[in-house]
């Protein structure tokens, strides 16, 4: 009752308010720039001219939301520990190229093969995240700057690896670089028959099955954060590292563990594409998921459920590209929408937090006056 109400008030209400605010702001900005806001909104909800096109867009929607969800999850683990892992971008790319190359070099039965690739990806992501972690713990360097630098370094590193050691020798000279293709035992199965049970036409290509892995991972992370000793220690250290340290939770160790976990989760972000679609790492590999992950984590308030909803929202906006182009609206309106949403969300969240604080103080003050009088005090005023 009480907890549920508080959960709704702190989580859902600010998100909805923020979305409404964003819509209004966006409408104004678009109108000022000469773009019809109503037409844009309609196009956003337009899934396509034919039933098959509709199903294809639904497929895109689901497929896009999975890596976004994983990325948001990775970032949120860092956020819980008051760490800004902006480096998810670099971590997931490095993890993907390493895992793709490693996966192409072994032959295992399917479940083992896929598990192997996933483990390599997580290890690579964690390893790349360990650099800013060590710098922070040992030298006190702010992780925002180091992770951003490492993102740029990752671009060069990957380009070098693709051209050099991890290059697929079977490719013709002028083809764009890529790692060796993965054998079929490493292909992640997809599905599309479920569409028929909904009365829809199946899409041209399958929906990635990785969504189930993502759901499992989400549940594990949720349980880990809220119900285990490790999660308690991590959240406590993120809230107040001094008090946590005095309570037996060393800040340095928590920082390392949080960053490594965040990096490991980041490693999974590229897996849907590598395992389910391209079956290799090439220049088609999607970039920018790390930054979108930050937006999704902020919007989802660091809770796996919220992040899932936010990922679905952002993927919903992403998939509307073709529909927008069809009515001559630049598809980058989606990006600017996402940006406006993020900014509104952080502001509304803060306002909501303050309102909650005051109502809490009022509630406690009321409870105090109902009990036998002690010396009254305003919250923390040493009167």
């Amino acid at each position: 009752m009480n907890r549920l109400r508080r959960g709704v008030v702190t989580g859902l209400v600010p998100a909805v308010v923020a979305l409404l605010v964003s819509l209004v702001v966006l409408a104004v900005v678009l109108a000022l720039l000469g773009v019809d806001p109503v037409k844009s909104l309609k196009a956003l909800f337009d899934f396509g001219p034919t039933p098959r096109a509709e199903s294809n867009q639904v497929r895109t929607w689901i497929n896009r939301s999975v890596p976004l969800f994983l990325s948001g999850l990775a970032v949120s683990v860092g956020f819980r520990m008051n760490l800004f892992n902006i480096g998810v971008e670099g971590q997931y790319s490095v993890a993907a190229v390493v895992a793709a190359a490693a996966g192409a070099m072994v032959h295992l039965p399917r479940p083992l093969h896929i598990a192997f690739i996933l483990l390599v990806a997580m290890a690579a992501g964690a390893a790349y995240a360990s650099v800013p972690a060590v710098l922070k713990v040992k030298r006190g360097v702010n992780e925002v700057i180091t992770t951003i630098m490492l993102n740029s370094i990752a671009v060069g590193l990957i380009a070098y690896l693709l051209r050099g050691p991890l290059h697929d020798p079977a490719l013709p000279k002028n083809a764009s670089p890529s790692t060796r293709p993965l054998p079929e035992s490493a292909w992640f199965p997809g599905f599309r028959s479920v569409f028929e049970s909904f009365g829809l036409q199946p899409p041209s290509r399958e929906v990635g099955g990785f969504i189930f892995v993502a759901i499992v991972v989400g549940v594990i992370v949720a349980v880990l954060m809220s119900r285990t000793r490790f999660g308690f220690a991590l959240r406590a250290s993120g809230r107040n590292s001094t008090a946590a340290a005095a309570s037996g939770i060393p800040a340095g160790r928590m920082t390392m563990q949080a960053m490594l976990l965040s990096g490991a989760l980041a490693g999974l972000v590229g897996m849907p594409q590598v395992l389910g679609e391209d079956h290799a790492y090439g220049i088609n590999f999607v970039a920018g998921l790390g930054f979108s992950g930050i937006a999704v984590a902020l919007l989802g308030r660091n809770s796996p459920g919220g992040i899932a909803a936010a990922a679905l929202l952002f993927a919903f906006l992403d998939r509307a590209g073709p529909s927008l182009q069809r009515v001559d609206i630049p598809p980058s309106v989606v990006i600017i929408t996402q940006g406006v949403i993020v900014l509104s969300v952080v502001i509304v969240n803060e306002v909501a937090r303050r309102m909650l604080e005051r109502s809490e103080e009022r509630r406690v003050g009321g409870a105090r006056s109902a009990t036998p009088p002690a010396a009254p005090q305003a919250a923390e005023v040493s009167a």
């Binding site: 720039l33 000469g34 773009v35 800004f84 902006i86 710098l135 030298r139 006190g140 360097v141 702010n142 925002v144 700057i145 180091t146 951003i148 630098m149 490492l150 993102n151 740029s152 370094i153 671009v155 060069g156 590193l157 380009a159 070098y160 051209r163 050099g164 930054f291 930050i294 937006a295 902020l298 630049p330 598809p331 980058s332 309106v333 990006i335 600017i336 929408t337 996402q338 940006g339 406006v340 993020v342 900014l343 952080v346 502001i347 969240n349 803060e350 306002v351 303050r354 923390e380 005023v381």
Partner: protein, 422 residues
């Protein structure tokens, strides 16, 4: 009980500053000598010639100005991660105004673009109390999306423009040559051509700063002493810094902390935007991704410089120099030559630390110096990708080395609300 009358103890502050200048002088001299020696041994003229110095100036200013923006902002207690976004907005504004109305309009466009980003950050952090880093990250996301959207919208159908770039800037920027030393008799040029150790290097570097200087660069450079003067010698500056050290104390004395923070954040946006102008002038147009993380590198330079304009400038110079060498190097030979320089510098630092008794750090750095030396001797060339990321690696190393004995403003990053109790 009477305590002794205080003798004006100016000794404390000035003696500290004097020893600081002495240390800076020593390091600068050592750096020049090491560079000169590297040039002689490697034969890479490009390390200290005029063209490089010009490039250094052009490439340092964006980073330095972004860092200066960060400095002003953090001195008032607001962390500004969004400098990159503000710089992006600045480049876009410069491109948009510049292709239509020329370089001076580009200047205005850059400043206005950055100011807009600064305004958003100020509203979010100062008025609404949003976490500074979160707000900065949000602004970076928004800025990146906004410039793509605006370019798609406004450059569709414009010759030379597109969703990721603007048409070229109309007209060129006014430049001049400093007489005697760089123009006319060109004394420095003559000195440079002698190829004498140290003298030629100094001449080359100096000449690059005095040849084809453009007005905007002069403005940019002058901003540094100006900001230093304002922050440390005027009442406004004292109040701004107090907002970053102890805003509650300032408030209790009647200082309008909110206004000071707003001015600081807006100024930081304007400065970052101005930094973007130089990127646009260098390429001749706005291009998406031009900033390349320089907003963040500016922050790193600010941390390296201990939140003081002089230190910040030296940090930015380090980056600008590596960037310039990378650009002017044919293949990767010059960058490789920098390995030798790094070997000398890092090795010297290692020896210095050993003498101070810091054995682990000292031996680690000596080992690193040896590694650099071996790299220089053994490698013929570096892969292209490695040279592109050199500046970022340099930034990382600089941060790792300098992050310990720092003194950020005491209330930096702490949310402040008027009238609240600490």
């Amino acid at each position: 009980m009477s305590a002794p009358v205080a003798t004006p103890a100016r000794v404390d502050n000035t003696s500290r500053r004097r020893s600081l200048w002495r240390r800076i002088g020593f390091i600068a001299t050592f750096g020049l000598v090491a560079l000169s020696v590297t040039r002689l041994i490697s034969g890479q003229e490009v390390l200290t010639d005029t063209g490089t110095a010009q490039a250094v100036l052009a490439l340092t200013l964006p980073v330095a100005l972004a860092g200066l923006g960060g400095l002003v902002c953090e001195r008032a207690g607001v962390v500004n991660i969004g400098l990159e976004g503000m710089m992006i907005l600045g480049t876009w504004g410069a491109g948009f105004a510049g292709y239509q109305w020329g370089p001076w309009a580009a200047l205005a466009g850059a400043v206005l673009g950055g100011l807009f980003g600064g305004l958003l950050h100020a509203i979010a952090t100062v008025t609404f109390g949003v976490d500074h880093i979160v707000s900065g990250v949000a602004i970076n996301l928004l800025a990146a999306g906004a410039v793509r959207f605006l370019s798609e919208l406004l450059y569709a159908g414009v010759a030379g423009g597109g969703p990721t770039q603007s048409p070229s800037i109309k007209g060129g920027t006014p430049t001049f040559d400093v007489p005697v030393l760089a123009g006319g008799p060109d004394l420095l040029g003559r000195l440079e051509r002698t190829h004498l150790v140290l003298l030629s290097d100094v001449a080359g570097l100096l000449r690059g700063l005095l040849l084809h200087v453009n007005v905007f660069q002069v403005i940019g450079v002058l901003l540094f002493p100006l900001v230093g003067f304002v922050l440390w010698r005027t009442a406004f500056g004292l109040r701004l810094r107090s907002a970053g050290e102890n805003p509650w104390a300032a408030e209790s004395l009647g200082v309008n902390v909110i206004r000071a923070k707003y001015v600081a954040v807006l100024a930081s946006g304007a400065l970052a935007g101005l930094g973007g102008l130089f990127l646009v002038l260098f390429s001749g147009l706005y291009k998406e991704g031009q900033t390349g993380g320089r907003g963040y590198i500016g922050l790193a330079a600010m941390i390296f410089g201990n939140w003081r304009p002089g230190g910040l400038a030296s940090g930015a110079l380090l980056f600008g120099y590596t960037d310039a060498i990378r650009l002017r190097s044919t293949g990767s030979t010059a960058v490789l030559a920098l390995f030798l320089f790094a070997a000398i510098a890092v090795g010297a630092l290692g020896i210095w630390w050993l003498r101070q008794g810091r054995r682990m750090a000292g031996s680690a750095f000596i080992g690193l110096g040896v590694a650099f030396l071996l790299g220089y001797l053994g490698l013929d060339s570096l892969p292209n990708e490695v040279t592109t990321v050199t500046p970022y690696i340099v930034t990382l190393v600089v941060l790792a080395v300098s992050s310990q004995s720092l003194r950020p403003p005491k209330a930096d990053g702490i949310p402040y609300r008027r009238g609240e109790d600490r």
